[in-house]
Amino acid sequence: MSFGGKEVKRIYMDNNATTAVRSEVLEAMLPFYKEQFGNPSSIHWAGQAVSGAVDSARGQVAQLINCQPEEIIFTSCGSEGNALAIKGSAEFLRSKGNHIITTAVEHPAVLNSCKYLEKQGFEVTVLAVDSEGMIDLAELEAAICEQTILISAMWGNNETGTLFPVAEIGAIARKHKVRFHTDAVQAVGRVPVDVQAAGVDMLTISGHKFGAPKGVGALYVRKGMGLTPLFHGGHQERNRRAGTHNVPGIVGLGVACELAITDLAEQDGRIRALRDRLEQGILSRIPEVQVNGHRLQRLPNTLNISFAYIEGEAILLFLDMKGVAASSGSACMSDSFGQSHVIGAMGVDPMMANSNIRFGLGLDNTEEDVDFILEILPEIIQKLRDMSPFYSERAAS
């Protein structure tokens, strides 16, 4: 890519928004477009050649999160998984109660599913978070009432990387016999996810966040837990999700899950070290910055950091011109106005809240990438601060 004639190096640090498909994944998918293209529900050779592939992928997903293959429902994305889990459970359990508990820092796919249910007569308690983005477990437990049918609390936050104490939430849910859903879209492939150990009843996965393609995801639903489907029709996915299987996507998701099992060490080791190097480097080079999210309970690949006196999009644009892709909280252009609901819920000072930048590291990133960012970022920040009325007013005061 070039700006004004100059070639720039490209550094992708927005892996929380989406990731490149991994070579092994794409290779595994390719035979399923033109050669093994059958419908796995068909009984003839063309169908049978692929139904085994769907079964294998189901096994691979199940193994990564430690569940049974038949507890996996293949979906098209994380948003579908969240909608199916939340709306599907709420409708199914309506006769048991109408109260749902979630948190203020969930992804919009969860929060807006809950808002939709509110219009349908459900009551929703939205738990607050502290300045590190953490919920209070006592508050969660206190919020449970007779009517509570569902808790939806994410595993890892997409903006700050904050990891909720999922096992503790699971224990509370189990104690009160409330169904527990977790949006693990950012966690799967980055930290160990074990639905048994965590006592999770439903868990959302999205393929494109860890090397599988866009357009495929999965929802884990514990055996015996009923669900009203979103898509009706064919008998696919044990009547819980109609629609011809996205065979290549499903195969790709399976392979990505298999790779993830061994990659977790790299996430916890090399990626975490790179992230920490970036964080320490920024903190030591640039004054008046603030890391957002929990310092310890955090996804190993995520750094959310704010720069006083300036605005996030402007920082992103300058980074982009230098070839660095990062983001400010959400990948959604329309969300870029005003402040992120996650940062807002953490009570971050508005001056800091509007300038938060998210670096989402991935397997392709190197020490060089980090050092390049550390080299260019101070200048970018200073240039923008020099333009800002807040900065000169502050300096003057």
Binding site: Y309, I310, A314, L317, M321, S336, G338, M387, S388, P389
Partner: protein, 122 residues
């Protein structure tokens, strides 16, 4: 997403800064995003002889501020008052729909500075 002109004005914003002995100072804070712009004017014989700005805002806001400064330096106050945010956006070869409001910041801050200049002058 942004036109080449926006990128140009964002990367090399013209007329950033403060005029210490400004004849008029104006300011605008965006209601929708909290972004903020300050405008400093030097006026001679009803003509804007110099203008400097400071902007806390997104790429579109910074580029709009810069473009606005180029559009009105050397113009009469009346001409400057007639400047609309649409004209700023147009001079930038357009802004993406969700970013149209950002050009308001520049036009509004300019108009506020002119108003303050006139009130103080009166």
């Amino acid at each position: 997403m942004y036109s080449d002109k926006v990128i140009d004005h964002f990367t090399n914003p013209r007329n950033v800064g403060v005029i210490i002995d400004a004849d008029g100072v104006g300011e605008k804070v965006s209601a929708s995003c909290g972004d903020r712009m300050k405008v400093f004017l030097k006026v001679v014989d009803g003509v804007i002889e110099d203008l400097k700005f400071q902007t806390y805002g997104c790429g579109a806001a910074i580029a709009s501020s810069s473009m606005m400064s180029e559009l009105v330096i050397g113009k009469t106050l009346d001409e400057a008052l007639a400047l609309t945010n649409d004209a700023v956006a147009e001079a930038l070869d357009g802004l993406p729909d969700p970013k149209l409001h950002c050009s308001n910041l520049a036009a509004d801050a300019l108009h506020d500075a002119i108003k303050n200049y006139k009130e103080e002058g009166a």
